[in-house]
Amino acid sequence: MRALPLALLAALALAAGTSCANPVHTDAVAALGDEAPGVKQGPTHRPGQPCSTCHGGEGPGPDFAMAGTIYETRGVAKALPNVTVTLIDANGDARKPVSNEVGNFYLRAEEWAPTYPVFASLSYADPATGKNVSIDMISRIGGNRGCAFCHHGADNEPSHMPPVFLRLK
């Protein structure tokens, strides 16, 4: 006798649970694939991937204010550590995270709440030459928290830039 109400309740709970998920976000997270073998979740995982997919407010990772991966040369997949990423928001509030051993940098959401647009530039003290190398981002960051949203893929596309680079070819 109680089977019908229980079944209805279960169906309702299932529907409510399913309807709360964002299928686009779920698919985007799934499309990133598994972690690389031997790499744990943390500051050195998934270099080059769009950080904001998982760290942009919908999970599953902690929220970041800004994050990305820095490469040495345009169109060349060689990450560069120790690059200072200068980020200045529309009100002049600046942060300067530094890229780690796999080129990743990030700022947690509790560290910074920028007012967009955000301006970005890179600087690097080249140990080989002893000189400082720097480059300014031409356009502004309009609102996305992850570099790889716009900086990804090949270097010959009209709709996006290649991964973030310090030097031109």
Binding site: P117, I141, E157
Partner: protein, 179 residues
């Protein structure tokens, strides 16, 4: 007789669907696009692309209001966001059509009134963040970008304000002018 009824009903439905499918929209409901000076838009476009057209905003192909140009999405398959440095003629044409096509009726009224009622345009209100805008405030009332846009809408384009807001230096060369 009874056996013919479904056939007759089906035929009637088919004919009705055919008539509806072949009917044309009411031509009286069409709005001829009337926008501000198209030639002057080449002064305005660098400002709009710089302020609004990054690839994570209106420089994305996934947006309804799309802008093309330097620093954002490019129209030609062979171009890249950072090359060539200037907005190309075809990009100007697409950008102009995009701008005046957002709200063609209001744009027509504003242009015909020499800019009066500009605050009815979502282009202005969203740029100023006076209407909810995911990208926040990109144009501050009274700044060169605002002056550029409003003077263009009133057919008195302020070239100096547009050049300043679009970071265009002498000889039409783009410059780094911010932050």
């Amino acid at each position: 007789m009874k056996t013919r009824l479904p056939i007759i009903c089906g035929l009637a439905l088919f004919v009705t669907a055919l008539v509806v499918a072949c009917s044309s929209p009411d031509t009286a409901g069409r709005v001829d696009p009337i926008g501000p000076n198209r030639d002057d838009f080449k002064l305005v476009a660098p400002m709009l692309v710089r302020r609004c057209g990054s690839t994570d905003c209106h420089g994305s192909s996934f947006r309804n209001f799309r802008l093309y140009g330097y620093g954002g999405q490019r129209l030609a398959a062979a171009d890249r966001p950072d090359f060539p440095a200037l907005i190309q003629p075809d990009e100007l044409r697409f950008d102009y059509d995009a701008v005046i096509g957002i709200e063609p009726e209001i744009m027509r009224d504003v242009v015909q009134a020499n800019g009066a009622g500009f605050d009815r345009l979502s282009l202005v209100r969203k740029g100023r963040n006076e209407e909810d805008h995911k990208g926040g405030q990109r144009i501050k009332p009274g700044d060169p970008a605002d002056t550029c846009l409003l003077t263009w809408l009133s057919n008195t384009t302020n070239a100096a304000a547009c050049a300043s807001a679009g970071c265009i230096g002498d000889g039409g060369v783009l410059e780094q002018c911010e932050p």
